[in-house]
């Protein structure tokens, strides 16, 4: 009896599982259809100050190294990238500080690249003037204006900014706050410590990278890599502005968003979540300036009535670029099924940070905040194997064998007894 029923039940379970599995596999359709995305833009900003005459890169002058690197980069630039070149300190050789600090010029406009034209323009450069990094960055950001593609400024310099009090670091932070997806990468030619600090500060303020260069091939490789990286397709976030309370907060759908959040500020967003769906949200707050070494980020999902549903929290210490956390909130199916579209619940998301900075550090614009929101189907409580009552391990096997054996014994004894009874009657 037992020996016959078990396999049948097993086959039934297996069939059920197979059909369930097939149903759960909708072939993910992938429609291949190119979209009209804006071209990525790169602006190369080259320092042409007097110090570029120094002959310390593989025995050649810094200017010659930069020119050769530019020629090679212009040859290797991918077709889709719109490239421009801006110089700083190329024209004014005098001693007037004010005039020297305005000396930045567009050598080749950002747009589709004509390699020969660009190379000819580069060849004319001679090391001349001051190093106005801050003003050059501002102008370079203006050059890149327009379009939704990724934007990159590659700054190549051999000396620190000579145009204080305009701190290039703050300039970088401000232009990053203005434009979305704008990154400044910096390269220092034979840098000293002070210059390294300044250039890496500029890079970190915008989420870029800083590289120190002492050889010709390093310069070419790095600039090439940065231009290539600009050509890589990246998701562009949508700018949004969170409110100070849930009632006035913007309503977000699935997607990637950016915002700015000042130290100790609270940002609220709303998400509409239908019953049976799951909300996934993650938030990253970037430390784009010098912050104190202990910090935290808190993301809370709160009902409109102020009850906290779930929270994600992160703390850290030491050097960091970003601190992030996330949360999941699966909303249960509604019990009373009265048909129609399930009503959406408004979930409020509150983001707070506990970054802090020393008194000299500017607090505006706020720290860059990145928010991803995904609303997907809710989890299944019971499609997993463990819940089919399946087990595993030698103990299970032993228990099954023992039960089977005992049942066999009893069955055998019973049938023997039945025959005996039949014979006596």
């Amino acid at each position: 009896m037992i020996t016959r029923k078990r396999p049948v039940a097993g086959v039934c379970a297996l069939l059920a599982a197979l059909t369930a599995g097939l149903v759960a596999f909708p072939a993910a359709a992938a429609a291949d259809e190119p979209t009209g995305r804006d071209a990525p833009k790169v602006n190369l900003v080259l320092d042409v100050s007097g110090s570029m005459r120094a002959r310390d890169i593989d025995g050649r002058s810094r200017m010659a190294a930069a020119k050769q690197a530019f020629n090679e980069v212009l040859d290797a630039t991918p077709e889709e990238v719109e490239l421009g070149i801006r110089t700083l300190g190329a024209n004014y050789a005098g001693d007037d500080r004010e005039e020297g600090c305005e000396d930045t010029a567009q050598l080749y406009p950002v747009g589709p690249l004509d390699r020969t034209e660009a190379k000819t323009a580069v060849a004319t450069l001679t090391p001349t003037g001051w190093t106005p990094i801050g003003p050059a960055l501002l102008k370079a950001a203006d050059d890149l204006e327009g379009g939704d593609g990724s934007k990159r400024i590659v700054l190549i310099s051999d000396g620190e900014d000579t145009c204080a009090p305009l701190d290039p670091c703050e300039v970088a932070r401000e232009i990053a706050a203005k434009g979305i997806g704008l990154t400044v990468d910096t390269l220092g030619l034979v840098p000293n410590v002070k210059m390294s600090r300044q250039l890496s500060c500029i890079a970190e303020a915008t989420g870029g990278t800083y590289t120190s260069v002492e050889h010709q091939d390093e310069l070419t490789d790095r600039v090439n890599e940065l231009v290539d990286r600009a050509a890589e397709p990246v998701v562009t976030p949508v700018a949004t502005e969170g409110a100070a309370s849930c009632t006035r907060a913007p309503t977000l759908g699935s997607g990637l968003y950016t915002d700015r959040e000042e130290f100790g500020q609270q940002r609220w967003y709303r998400v509409e979540l239908p019953a049976g769906q799951e909300l996934r949200a993650s938030v990253s707050v970037a430390a784009d300036r010098a912050v104190r070494p202990d910090y935290g980020v808190l993301l809370r999902a709160v009902t409109v009535h102020g009850r906290e549903i779930v929270r994600g929290e992160a703390t850290g210490n030491g050097r960091t670029d970003v601190l992030s956390t996330g949360l999941r909130y699966p909303r249960p199916e509604r019990e009373d099924d009265d048909g129609g579209k399930p009503a959406a619940e408004v979930v409020c998301l509150a983001v707070t940070n506990s970054f802090s900075a020393d008194s000299g550090v500017k607090t505006t614009p706020g720290l860059p905040l990145e928010l991803t929101v995904d609303v997907v189907d809710g989890p299944d409580g019971s499609s997993d194997v463990a819940s089919f009552g399946l087990g595993r391990g030698w103990w299970l096997l032993g228990a099954l064998v023992l039960t089977g054996f005992l049942a066999g014994l009893v069955w055998g004894w019973l049938s023997r007894w039945r025959i005996a009874v039949w014979r006596t009657s």
Partner: protein, 270 residues
């Protein structure tokens, strides 16, 4: 009795055959760069370079950079992240660290492995390792257990003197995983893996402009044989084998007490 045995064996083979069949039915993952291992690393969560498990990703970078990679991990796997950093010829003492984040950008704990290591001035390279917890198919929303989906790796120098900023380093990253199998099965599963932006790429059929390979996605890689559907594990084999063995044991027990054939004193049927 033979029927029983045949049925048992058939059940076992069916169970075994169902696994690859299920795997075949999901779409093949997109190769990152025509099968080649990536030679670059991203600089943020948004630009993280995607790496398949088993691939060795390399990147040239500068000290002070934050390098990001992402890899997919499925339920029942226990991923191990291994990173090597080749330091410049002369450098001061540097501390390097890898951090692993899940698809919700929550930091994931390492069970063991040297996640942070300081290289003295005489060291030419640093080796870092992080063994994650086993990825479960489901967990409570209030827990931060590892769930199937995308995982991010961040590699960076934690402490370094300004003089060392921007120097060229080479980084290498390898992600492997141990298959824990049905031992890690739990009671439930997610409808979609924890892949950032999945609501934009998988769901809406009406929004087709977000649903093609031409537009960028936050994370597009899947495990080699697709995301597991959550219904297959080696528990099927164990349970089926247990059933078959129980059947055999039952037959054995029956024969023991029933005796073989007819009782000796029963005369042949008249």
């Amino acid at each position: 009795m033979r029927v029983t045995r045949v049925l048992g064996a058939a059940l076992l083979t069916l169970g075994l055959a169902a696994a690859p069949a299920a795997a075949d039915s999901s779409p093949s993952p997109k190769a990152p760069e025509d099968g080649g291992a990536p030679t670059r690393a991203g600089t943020s969560f948004r630009t993280a370079t995607e790496v398949e498990q088993g691939q060795t990703a390399t990147a040239r970078a500068s000290t002070g950079d934050y390098l990001y990679w992402s890899f997919p991990a499925d339920a029942g796997q226990r991923p191990t992240v291994h990173a090597t950093v080749k330091l410049p010829e002369s450098h001061a003492a540097q501390t390097w660290q890898i951090d692993v984040y899940d698809g919700l950008r929550r930091r994931q704990a390492c069970q063991y492995g040297a996640q942070t290591r300081t290289a003295g001035t005489d060291k030419a390279s640093v080796e870092l390792e992080c063994v994650l917890r086993t990825v479960r198919a489901w967990s409570e929303p209030w827990a931060d257990d590892p769930l199937p989906g995308t995982y991010y790796v961040r590699l960076t120098a934690l402490r370094l003197p300004t003089a060392d900023l921007g120097q060229a380093v080479e980084a290498e990253l390898r992600v492997g995983s141990k298959d824990v199998g049905g031992a890690a099965a739990v009671d439930g599963s997610l409808s979609e893996p924890l892949v950032p932006g999945i609501a934009m790429t998988s769901g809406a059929g009406e929004e087709e402009k977000d649903d093609d390979s031409g537009s960028p996605v936050l994370a597009g890689l899947e495990p080699e044989d697709g995301w597991s559907s959550g219904w297959w594990s080696d528990r099927w084999v164990w349970t089926a084998a247990g059933g078959a063995l129980a059947a055999l044991a039952g037959v054995a027990g029956y024969r023991l007490t029933r005796g073989s054939g007819r009782p000796p004193r029963v005369p042949p049927s008249t």
